[in-house]
């Protein structure tokens, strides 16, 4: 079910030193191709929508909203949201507010290490257009220039109720098969990489981490 877009093209992994280059894969990401039978794909999407495992990665002030989301009052477990400690097991990446350039580097690494299918929720106004950090020298303005975003939840700060509403909206989108952010990342991989390397000046990691 996994199809490679360009089998022969390999990455340079230019950011790595000579002895490290062999330790990392130089393959490009591959796109997800849906099951050919629609009922099977719908069933798979139903399963994905009901187990949203979010990555425990607090990237900004919005990460503080994830704690009440998981505890008794809002209890996100009842809609299938659970936290995972590692990107390998997570399927939803919540960017909790502003992202500095230093954090963006970690966001890119974590996002690429997540297994597909994977979805990104951008929380707050800062990943949309910069928010109150519109003139900051170290904070990116638009997150969708660097990683694909499936759902925006705006506000400063959005309360946990809105996060629950956002999770329900994401479930609806997944069931309808509209969350194709990971495939957009594969198709426009070079564009995303060029944008990332424009702001992350100290590029000392592989071009594609997985």
């Amino acid at each position: 079910m996994i199809k490679s877009l360009s089998t022969d093209a390999t990455l340079a992994n230019a950011g790595l030193s000579a002895e490290e280059q062999d330790l990392f894969s130089n393959a490009r990401p591959t796109a997800y191709e849906p099951y050919s039978i629609k009922a099977v794909e719908d069933f798979a999407n139903w399963c994905r929508a009901n187990s949203l495992w979010i990555l425990a990665f607090g990237t900004g002030c919005g990460a503080i909203e994830l704690r009440p989301l998981m505890t008794a009052r809002f209890d996100a477990n009842r809609i299938g949201v659970a936290g995972r400690p590692t990107p390998r097991q997570a399927s939803v990446f919540i960017i909790g507010g502003y992202s500095s350039v230093k954090t963006l580097k970690r966001i890119v690494r974590s996002y690429e290490q997540m297994q597909g299918p994977k979805f990104v929720i951008a929380l707050g106004i800062c990943p949309v257009n910069g928010g109150m950090y519109w003139d900051s020298y170290n904070t990116i303005k638009r997150l969708d220039q660097y990683i694909p975003v499936d759902l925006y939840i705006t506000g400063c700060m959005p309360r946990p109720e809105v996060l629950v509403a956002g999770a329900l909206e994401l479930k609806k989108m997944i069931k309808e098969g509209r969350c194709d952010g990971a495939n957009r990342y594969v198709e426009n991989f070079d564009w995303y990489k060029a944008n990332q390397k424009k702001v992350i000046k100290k590029w000392d990691m592989p071009d594609y981490n997985w």
Binding site: S100, V101, K102, K105, V128, N129, G130, W134, D135, S136, Y137, N138, T139, I140, K141, R142, Q145, N195, K198, V199, I200, K201, K202, W203
Partner: protein
Amino acid sequence: MNSMLERLSKEFRVTDITERHPGLTTLTADKDVAETLLRELRDREGYTHLNFMTAIDYIERGVFTLVYMLHNYATKSTLSVHVNIDRVNAEMTSIHTLWAQAWTYQRELRELWGINFPGSPRVEEDFCLEGWEEIPPMRREFDTVEYCERTFTSREGRGTVNPREHMAEIIFPNRGGDK
């Protein structure tokens, strides 16, 4: 307190002693006696706690003012020691031997203001910024907005309002503003 300040002004040529409010006094010291003064304050006058240290960029006078904020737990008084250093080739004695936590502040000052502290541990390493290629961003000649527009992509449709007019017209329309 006053006898201590008198003695300091005599022994260390401390100037501009001002009581900002009860419990906070500021004074200005010369660069070459600053470390000795801080050691004296820590060991003999009870100012054992370094609250923080930071820098102020007085670009008009061509100096950075380093601020060492010290606290005395016994008298509950805070003393702010100001040291003016030259803006060109800015350099200052490291005080990580007095307060071990000062090396973090000095690393930050080196990165964001470009002030060097020779001998401070790991002062050469990146702190908040990784691979910064411009002049240090907290210097006032650094044009933040210009850098931001050059580096980051903006989204169309972002607007701005005058807070005073917005409050008078939208938030409190019946109060007529302050006209």
